[in-house]
């Protein structure tokens, strides 16, 4: 965490990255992320249909994990970033403490969205049985990985100090206080 950087530009950079991530989520969820061929039967899955298939197989705990990592966390991250960006738009926020906690939470959970990318990559590498069964990655996973990386960069670009301090140089001087 950077303690002294107060550049306002971070806010617009973070906003741009958040917007790009939100746009990237559209192809990520509409395009297929992998295609499975089992005994000649071809099936392509989007992120959502993959989760439904897991639940239909009776593997609903796995479905819940993938749902949380691939759908819930990206949406929560973008919503959270929008809340932070709106709050920090005009100098210090009214309730900086919960917003800073929100920032820390977003920073913590962001990486788990990469689960689906790793999952598709590993399945594509491990399931190569020629005519019997093959798994191939599809374009949607690239869009999804891009969306995840963009939300992580957007969180990184946002400076939580903007929630606390005046951006003008007349910052409060440190005064000893105990809590």
């Amino acid at each position: 965490m950077n303690l002294s950087d107060r550049r306002r530009a971070h806010l617009s950079r973070s906003a741009a990255l958040t917007l790009s991530a939100a746009f990237m989520l559209v192809p990520a969820n509409l395009l297929p992320v992998l295609s499975t061929q089992i005994s000649g039967q071809l099936r392509t899955d989007t992120i959502f249909s993959g989760i439904v298939a897991l639940c239909n197989q009776g593997l609903w705990p796995l479905g819940a994990i993938v749902f949380a990592a691939s759908i819930l966390i990206p949406l929560l991250k973008i919503a959270g970033l929008i809340v932070l960006l709106v709050a920090a738009r005009h100098g210090p926020a009214e309730h900086p403490q919960p917003l800073t906690r929100l920032y820390a939470t977003l920073d913590l959970i962001g990486r788990w969205s990469m689960l689906d990318v790793f999952l598709v990559a590993f399945l594509a590498g491990a399931v190569q049985f020629g005519a019997f069964a093959t798994v191939e990655p599809r374009a949607g996973i690239v869009a999804f990985a891009a969306a995840v990386v963009l939300t992580m960069l957007a969180t990184r670009a946002f400076n939580p100090r903007l929630l606390w301090i005046e951006t003008a140089p007349a910052a409060s001087s440190p005064s000893p206080s105990s809590r």
Partner: protein, 219 residues
């Protein structure tokens, strides 16, 4: 090496505004083992002493580096169906993405699951080994910053969960067994996490000079 268990000094670039536990003009303070400096406003950890001491962190770091080659070379899973046996390595996912015309994604997966954790372990070793064998103090701010940047993109624990999900999904289709490579990788992921969590934040001096204590620093 004296001072491992007792304390280390943490330097701040300058007393930052809003961090009122730092007295104006002071830029260093001693910490006892396990002690942390939290931001008074947002509870963010600003500096902390190594939880178990730098030797424990160094041991975890070296364990991670030793576990990396077997994690890379041994199979993660072996799957068999109708007499055909196929092994999956950490690398096979990367090569599959590369072959399907997604080279950048393949490189990205490799970076997050292997390169960044390894570089993080290497950076930690670079930070911890010199003070272990010499008493001269030399701060390494660039290396520390590199470690923080690498930690952000190193996500072996996510890869471990992804492999477990893939394993259970595959077990409905074919007969799968976990290979030794996965165990080595999971262990590497775990010690990397522990090494990072027990590592001191801030710059630690091996032979600390005791600075005046400030009671507003919360343990």
């Amino acid at each position: 090496m004296a001072g491992h268990e007792s304390s280390g000094i943490f330097f701040f670039p300058s007393p930052p505004a809003g961090l009122s536990f730092l007295r104006a003009g002071s830029s260093s303070r001693t910490f006892a083992a396990g002690e942390k400096a939290l931001c008074l406003q947002c509870d963010a950890v600003l500096a902390k002493h190594s939880l178990l001491g730098p030797d424990a962190t160094l041991a975890l770091t070296l364990s991670g580096l030793i576990l990396a080659p077997p994690a890379l070379l041994l199979p993660f899973i072996t799957a068999g169906k109708l007499g055909r046996v196929h092994s999956g390595w950490l690398f096979s996912g990367v090569t599959a993405l590369w072959d399907e015309g997604m080279p950048i994604l393949g490189v990205w997966v490799l970076a997050c699951s292997l390169l960044a954790p390894l570089l993080l372990l290497g950076t930690l070793a670079g930070l911890l080994l010199p003070p272990r064998f010499s008493r001269t103090y030399s701060p390494r701010p660039k290396l520390t910053r590199a470690a923080h940047a690498l930690e952000h993109w190193a996500m072996p624990e996510v890869q471990v969960l992804a492999v477990l999900v893939a394993l259970i999904k595959l077990s409905t289709l074919v007969e799968v067994h976990i290979g030794p490579g996965f165990w080595c990788y999971a262990a590497m992921s775990f010690v990397t996490l522990l090494a990072w969590r027990t590592h001191a934040l801030g710059i630690v001096v091996p032979n600390p000079v005791i600075a005046p204590t400030d009671r507003t620093v919360r343990p």
